[in-house]
């Protein structure tokens, strides 16, 4: 076994570490300030370091080398072969357990290695985020195709294209498809500068996920629809009706995916 040591970033507090554990134990019991803290904690963990013999790398570099490169392409290839994407959850879980087993086998996650649980937490957080994200993205691409919407998408099978600045182009508007947690992570860490984002929210009354499209106001204007304005604090009460919100000085309209598709299809037919 190689000599391994792990250091966490100095600005990662015991509070951050507690909320990381709560994220894995009871995600649904996280309250909004804890969500924000968990997203911040996973961001800070990018800067954690692992020293393997003489070689030192950040958690981000470790993930890239030991998780993304060996597992991502194969996962995407298998995912794309599935006709029924419901079966992808089993594949996602199986790969996550394989990654955890690899970390233990290689001596990167073990009882007497201080902070190795946070390296494992980091790898699992990003793996699950990656896998859920591409499952969702592929389901959207298939839905758009079946709905007859014209779009250009990046090629998920190519690593370089997966890192392209946007996921798809519809009506000359650039958009991203993100599962909910990753959307919130991005909203915290990066400016929301795409024309639209496709994500999904859990509708408690209907007991199912609803896909929604969050659009910059200008992008929505192009689809020609009027919507009521709400504060972030009150927007949920209007859901799933379309609603306009302001986030960090920028106006967005959030609409159900099916309504967005109808509007896009109508506009694309007008342009023919």
């Amino acid at each position: 076994m190689p000599q391994v040591s792990i250091s966490l970033p100095f600005d990662l507090t015991p509070q951050h570490l507690r909320v990381v554990l709560k994220y894995f134990e009871k995600t649904e019991r996280l309250i909004p300030p804890e969500w924000k803290m968990a997203l911040r904690a996973f961001d800070l963990l990018n800067k954690g370091t692992i020293k393997i013999e003489r070689r030192q790398m950040s958690f981000q570099q470790f993930y890239d080398r030991h998780v993304d490169r060996p597992y991502a392409d194969d996962f995407i290839a298998r995912l794309m072969k599935l006709e029924d994407l419901e079966k992808a959850e089993t594949l996602q879980q199986k790969t996550a357990f394989e990654i955890l087993a690899m970390l233990e086998r290689e001596g990167f996650y073990k009882e007497n290695l201080v902070s190795s649980e946070y390296l494992a937490a980091y790898c699992l957080y990003w793996w699950i985020s990656f896998a859920k994200g591409y499952r969702f993205e592929l389901s959207i691409f298939r839905d758009l195709k079946a709905s007859g919407i014209a779009f250009v998408a990046h090629d998920l099978r190519k690593r370089s294209e997966r890192r392209s600045p946007y996921d798809l182009l519809v009506l000359r508007q650039v958009g991203d498809i993100k599962n909910t947690t990753y959307f919130l992570y991005s909203a915290r860490a990066l400016p929301l500068n795409r024309d639209f984002y496709i994500t999904r929210l859990y509708h408690s009354q209907r007991r199912r996920y609803l896909t929604v499209v969050l659009m910059a106001k200008a992008a929505w204007r192009r689809l020609n629809g009027a919507v009521p304005t709400a504060l972030l604090e009150t927007a949920a009460s209007l859901f799933p009706q379309p609603v306009q919100i302001t986030f960090e000085g920028q106006d967005f309209v959030i609409v159900p995916f099916d309504l967005w598709k109808d509007k896009v299809k109508k506009r694309q037919q007008e342009e023919i």
């Binding site: 554990l21 994220y23 894995f24 134990e25 995600t27 649904e28 909004p32 300030p33 969500w35 924000k36 997203l39 959850e89 879980q93 996550a96 357990f97 955890l100 996650y109 073990k110 009882e111 190795s116 649980e117 494992a120 937490a121 699992l124 699950i128 859920k132 599962n179 909910t180 947690t181 919130l184 909203a187 915290r188 929210l201 859990y202 509708h203 408690s204 996920y209 972030l232 604090e233 927007a235 949920a236 859901f239 799933p240 919100i245 986030f247 960090e248």
Partner: protein
Amino acid sequence: MSKSRFDKAFASFIRRGEEKITPKTFFQVLAEIEQERVQKTIELRIKIIKGKLRFEASPEIYVHDDAIVLGNQRIVVRMS
């Protein structure tokens, strides 16, 4: 914290499936993020001198002519 507690948490997380983030939580987290980012508002005053934009000196942030210096960034504001 013990490895066995993390082992259990990881296994349940992997098997749990999707997080059920409701619209209420979603918008509240966005509000939290926004609140965290905007911790302080600095008001800057400008004058137009001979057709050029000029910031008035501020005790809170370094400005010079038409530029704001923020950390290692210089933000130049131009009139279109």
